[in-house]
Assembly symmetry: C2
Homo-oligomer: 255 residues x 2
C-alpha cells in the first residue's frame, strides 16, 4: 500500500498526513472541500491537492478523514481496492460498498488546530473486515506509532466514550477553574502541580483510591461554602455540575 | 519559631511534618486523637506523641492539621504565641482567641494516605493577621517550598473551589472511564497519552481553545451513540453527567 489518497484536511487528516510523510510514506493526493486547508496540507506533505473527488487509478489505499456524519456520503462516491476511515465511534461497515478491504485506523489522541501531535506513543486502534488487510494496516501504521492495537467496534466505542469523560470533559472542568480563577486575577497555572499530581496518581493507583476533597470526606461545611461561592457567580451550570458530581462522590464512599 | 507542635496526624499533618523534618526543622510534639497514626508519625519524624492535648511551654508555633469542621473545637482548647491551621476554605479568624498571631498555611496539593508528596514546587498559600507574623511564616515555609504565596481569604476560597473542579472532579471522571473500560477488559492506561496531552495543552493554551470532542463539533450522531451506550450500563448518574456537560459545551460554542 504505497499509493495513499487522503480525503479531508481537518485536524485528523493534517496529523495523519504529516505522520505518514515523516515516516517517508508519500501521499499521492489529498481531496478536501476546503480549498485553502487542502492546498496548504498538500503543499506541506509534498502531495497534490484535488479540488474534485477524483481518485487516481494507482491508488492503493484511501484514508477518509472527514467528520463522522459525512463518512457515509463520501463512501457513496468512491470505489477502491482498500478504504479506511479514522472515526472512533463509526462502524467500518459504512465502507462495505466501496471496497473488498475496508477498516478503521483511529489514534486515541486529542488534536488541536494546526498543531502537530507526536503519534509515536499514541495507541492506534485498528479494525478491518479481513485478516490480510488488517495485517497490512498494522504494518503501515506501525511506521507512525509503536502502539498499534487490534480493537473491535464495541471496544472502540467504549474507548471513545471513556475518552470523552477523561479528555473532553476534564478539559471542560479545567475551563471552569480557569474562569473562576480569572475573576480573582489568578491564573490556572497556580493549579499546575495539583493537576499534574492528579494525573500522575491515576496511572499509579486505582482512581477510586485517589479521590480526595470535601465530597470524599463528607465535609459539608466546605461544600456549603463552595455552593455559596458558586451562587454568587452568574453561571448556574457550574452549580449544577458541582452538585451532581459531589452527590455522586458522596454516594460512592457512603459505606 | 523553632519549637513546633502539630495537632493532627492525617494526610496533611503527615506531609507537613515530614517536609519540616526533611528541612531539618524539628517537631517538638504531635497530638492526635488517633493513637496509632499519631505515634507512627511522631516516630517517623523523631518527635514525641502526646495522647492528651498538652502543649509544652516552649512551643513557638502550633500547626492545626485537623478536618475543617473541627478547627473551631481544637481552637477553643489552646492558647499560644502563634497558631495556624492548614485548611483551604476556613477563615483564620477561627483562631483569633488562641493567639495574637494567627494564620493559615495551605499547600495546593492532593495528598494520598501514607504517600509522601514532594512539596518543593507546590504553591503554599499564606495568610496571617499581622505583617510580622506573615513574614515569619513565609520564612519558615520557604524551607519546604520555593513557591510561597500571600493569598487573602477570598482568593484562597476561590483557589480551593477551582481545585475541586480540576482535581477532585477530574479524578472522578477518570474513575468513570476506568469503570467503563474495565467492563470491556480494557485498562485506563490506554488513555494515558490522551490524558497527558490534555493536561499539557491546558498549560500551553487557553482551555477553551483546547476543547475537542463530539459536543464541541456538534456531532449529534456520536453523542446519540454515547448516550445509547451509557443507557445500557446500570449507572444513570453517568448519563446525567454526560448530558449536562455535553449541553454546556454545545452552548459555549454555539455562536
Amino acid at each position: 500500500m504505497k499509493n495513499i489518497y487522503l480525503i479531508g484536511s481537518g485536524k485528523i487528516g493534517f496529523n495523519i498526513a504529516i505522520a505518514l510523510k515523516n515516516s517517508n510514506i508519500s501521499i499521492l493526493g489529498i481531496h478536501s472541500r476546503n480549498k485553502e486547508s487542502g492546498n496548504r496540507l498538500a503543499h506541506k506533505v509534498n502531495s497534490k491537492y484535488f479540488e474534485e473527488l477524483i481518485i487516481p487509478r494507482k491508488t492503493d489505499l484511501i484514508i477518509i478523514c472527514v467528520p463522522d456524519d459525512e463518512i457515509q456520503n463520501v463512501a457513496k462516491k468512491i470505489k477502491n481496492s482498500a478504504v479506511i476511515h479514522t472515526a472512533g465511534c463509526s462502524d467500518i461497515a459504512l465502507l462495505k460498498d466501496c471496497s473488498n478491504n475496508y477498516g478503521v485506523v483511529w489514534p486515541i489522541q486529542t488534536f488541536l488546530e494546526n498543531k502537530k501531535a507526536n503519534l509515536k506513543n499514541v495507541p492506534i486502534c485498528i479494525e478491518a473486515n479481513n485478516k490480510i488487510f488488517q495485517k497490512k494496516l498494522q504494518s503501515l501504521f506501525s511506521k507512525i506509532s509503536n502502539n498499534i492495537m487490534n480493537i473491535n467496534f464495541k471496544q472502540r466505542q467504549i474507548i471513545h466514550l471513556s475518552a470523552v469523560f477523561s479528555c473532553n470533559f476534564s478539559n471542560y472542568l479545567y475551563s471552569i477553574s480557569e474562569e473562576i480563577l480569572s475573576k480573582e486575577n489568578l491564573d490556572l497555572s497556580i493549579l499546575k502541580p495539583l493537576i499534574l499530581e492528579t494525573t500522575n496518581n491515576v496511572f499509579k493507583y486505582k482512581s477510586k483510591n485517589n479521590q480526595t476533597g470535601p465530597a470524599r470526606r463528607k465535609d459539608f461545611g466546605t461544600i456549603k461554602k463552595h455552593l455559596d461561592l458558586l451562587s454568587l457567580k452568574e453561571k448556574k451550570e457550574y452549580l449544577k455540575i458541582y452538585n451532581l458530581i459531589t452527590n455522586n462522590i458522596i454516594k460512592i464512599y457512603e459505606s
